[in-house]
């Protein structure tokens, strides 16, 4: 019987069926972070249960860590207890921690792929909803809560209900300055924030295939914003070339053997999905959110919609919009380029290409926070930090930073912020901050112009 790629990965990781009907799915790798590690380890220790596979478990400091240069544990005073408890807990259980000061510290969803911990066809768990990011390498990932993390620590499996299968086909080609982020926002706008609930999503189609690995990571990152827990792109030569030689990836004969297996990781031609969605990318333009959930998205040339419901009215009010005005031209007070969505090297390069030779507009606070310390180092080797700094951007140390404001990096009340992150929820980036999600290039363009602008026009000197 023809199988989808999801079926193949699920089946090969099915350890047993519990009598209550749940499938025990083996987790090949899991990466914890400072926000949830302390609680999960404390619970485990209270029940005197050991960590089953510390060798498959990793931890990083990302959520509460400060982004300020010269940072230490207490630069963000609220973060210090989380960082210290994560450090102590990781040491007690023999778990490798990418700690403050480690040359490879960073956001878990950035660190795990770039070090090659995540592999095609592997399963992955992180106590964070954006675990789905690593689906960009063809891995099946599950975001989980603290209790499920404790479950993985104790058993190395998750007890799951089998999700339904959905395929999102992105047809056509993405135009200039139209990125994986724009594609993902468009998909969310089309299917809604609960459109993927109960499903695992396979991204396919020519536009998906045409994305580089980092673009695929961005696309998969936003899967949870469609309501689905897991999303992935079937691995191909692009994936394999990107992975080859990374420190945790198999090497030598083991690599060859893995590669032969990874070649089978595709959905069979006549495999059936429970739901199929198609997106035409031919006319897709850069996208921005106008409201307070990621489905409230329009193209940069569009007008903000008129309120058609109480919910839309509340969103418009929160965003300081009346409805019907053009999106382009809205004055911006802050720009944030960072997060697990858009803080890999190619993201910073795309933003730097817009910023190079230009200045941040007066009155705009602009911040770049690389997704990992490795990304930061690579960017500095290319001189990107100089490009950003000389334009007037702040250049931070790696972590989640302003994505959820968990490290003290926040905007000001009523400030309009163009952000490369994943959630434009009310108050997420600081009390009453008005977040517009966008790609790195579009965010960089807003910083330069001082208002929302079509990056293509800015680059052409027409804005």
């Amino acid at each position: 019987m023809p199988q989808t790629l999801f079926d193949k990965i699920w089946q090969s990781h099915l350890v047993a069926k519990r009598p209550d009907g749940r499938d025990l799915i083996y987790i090949d790798r899991h990466v914890m972070h400072d926000l949830h590690t302390p609680h999960a380890l404390a619970q485990l220790e209270k029940k005197q249960r050991p960590v089953r596979r510390p060798d498959l478990t990793f931890a990083t400091q990302d959520h509460t860590i400060a982004s300020k240069p010269g940072r230490d544990d207490t630069t963000n005073p609220e973060g210090a207890p989380f960082l210290r408890a994560t450090r102590a807990g990781s040491a007690r259980h023999g778990i490798r921690l990418f700690d403050l000061g480690d040359p490879e510290q960073g956001i878990s969803h950035v660190v795990a792929p770039e070090l090659g911990m995540v592999l095609p066809g592997a399963t992955h768990a992180v106590p964070d909803s954006h675990a789905c990011t690593v689906g960009g390498l063809g891995a099946l990932a599950f975001g989980c809560g603290a209790s499920e993390l404790e479950h993985v620590l104790a058993t190395q499996v998750l007890a799951l209900r089998r999700p339904r299968r959905m395929r999102v086909r992105a047809d056509g080609r993405l135009g200039t300055q139209v990125t994986a982020k724009d594609l993902a926002l468009r998909i969310i706008a089309e299917i809604g924030v609960a459109g993927g609930r109960g499903h695992s999503i396979e991204y396919a189609g020519a536009a998906t295939r045409g994305l580089d690995v980092e673009g695929r990571l961005t696309l998969c990152n936003l899967t949870i914003e469609m309501g689905a827990r897991s999303g992935f792109v079937a691995p191909d030569d692009t994936t394999f070339q990107w992975l080859a030689g990374r420190p945790f990836a198999p090497q030598g004969a083991a690599w060859d053997r893995a590669l032969a297996h990874w070649g089978t990781l595709v959905s069979d031609a006549d495999a059936e999905f429970d739901r199929e969605v198609a997106i035409d990318c031919a006319t897709l333009e850069p996208q921005l959110t106008w409201g307070t959930d990621p489905s409230q998205t329009v193209g940069v040339s569009a007008r903000v919609p008129q309120a058609a419901s109480d919910g839309m009215r509340r969103a418009l009010d929160y965003m300081g919009l009346s409805g019907g005005e053009p999106l382009a031209g809205l004055a911006v007070g802050r720009v944030f380029i960072g997060s697990c969505t858009n803080a890999r090297l190619s993201d910073l390069e795309a933003a730097a290409a817009v910023v190079r030779g230009r200045k941040v507009a007066p009155g705009v606070t602009a911040l770049v926070v690389p997704g990992s310390t490795s990304v930061k180092r690579a960017a500095e080797a290319r001189g990107l930090d100089d490009v950003f700094r000389s334009a007037g951007f702040l250049w931070g140390e790696s972590g989640c930073s302003m994505c959820a404001g968990g490290n003290g990096d926040r905007g000001l009340p009523q400030e309009r912020c163009v952000s490369t992150t994943n959630r434009n929820f009310e108050n997420r980036q600081g009390t009453a901050v008005r977040t517009h999600l966008a790609s790195p290039a579009t965010a960089a363009a807003a910083a330069i112009a001082g208002h929302i602008v079509d990056v293509r026009k800015l680059m052409a000197g027409a804005a």
């Binding site: 519990r18 209550d20 592997a122 909803s129 209900r161 309501g227």
Partner: protein, 203 residues
């Protein structure tokens, strides 16, 4: 975990869609390892004196009634801990975010999914009762009862129902399969050895 059989108490109406975890538990307002979860629950909305949980009859609410896609957003289990700290052990909604739903089950909270006429009836009756009379959620009979009409039936996956009814320890259930887990690891170490080894080749 405390078994969930029946639950009786005030049902608070919060009839909005897409209520996210940032709203349920705005953790950035109290970032401590051991925060006051009761104070955290809907903390921003509670700055509005008219918010439903500020009203006297809902200080001990046991049931929360919401709209579609409740608990979307992050994986933070703090959203569920904030609800239980208030005493809420059942959320009735027209759908739950996948991870939030799992987090509920891990904490003995019933994520009760209702749609269509049943959801309309419960929402209307809970709003009309306005906390003056209690509602009862019976997980054994799979009914919601209370003033204003007949019992409303709800469906739930048998596995989830059993787990809540018996208050089963999820890890304990899985550890009964410790031999299966070890066998899988043994097989995979041979068939796909790269999955069973996460070695840093520089070390």
């Amino acid at each position: 975990m405390t078994p969930f059989t029946t639950l009786t108490g005030a049902a608070a109406p919060l009839l909005l869609d897409d209520i996210n975890t940032d709203q349920i538990a705005p953790q950035q307002m109290d970032r401590r390892l051991d925060p006051d979860y009761r104070a955290m629950l809907f903390r921003r909305q509670r700055q509005d004196a008219g918010f439903v949980l500020n009203r006297p009859q809902f200080q001990n609410a046991a049931i929360l009634v919401a709209g579609r896609n409740f608990g979307c957003g992050s994986a933070r289990e703090t959203a569920v801990w904030a609800l239980t700290a208030w005493g809420i052990r059942c959320v009735v909604a027209r759908g739950f975010a996948d991870i939030f739903r799992e987090n509920c089950l891990q904490n003995g909270v019933l994520p009760l999914e209702l749609d269509g006429a049943g959801a309309d009836a419960v929402a209307a009756r809970v709003a009309a009762a306005d906390g003056a009379a209690p509602f009862t959620v019976d997980l054994v009979a799979q009914t919601i009862s209370g003033p204003g009409g007949p019992d409303v039936h709800f469906d739930i996956a048998p596995a989830d129902r059993m787990r809540l009814l018996e208050g089963l320890d999820d890890i304990g259930l899985t550890l009964k399969h410790a031999d299966d887990i070890a066998a899988w690891e043994g097989r995979t170490a041979t068939d796909q050895p790269w999955l069973q080894s996460a070695r840093d080749h520089r070390r």
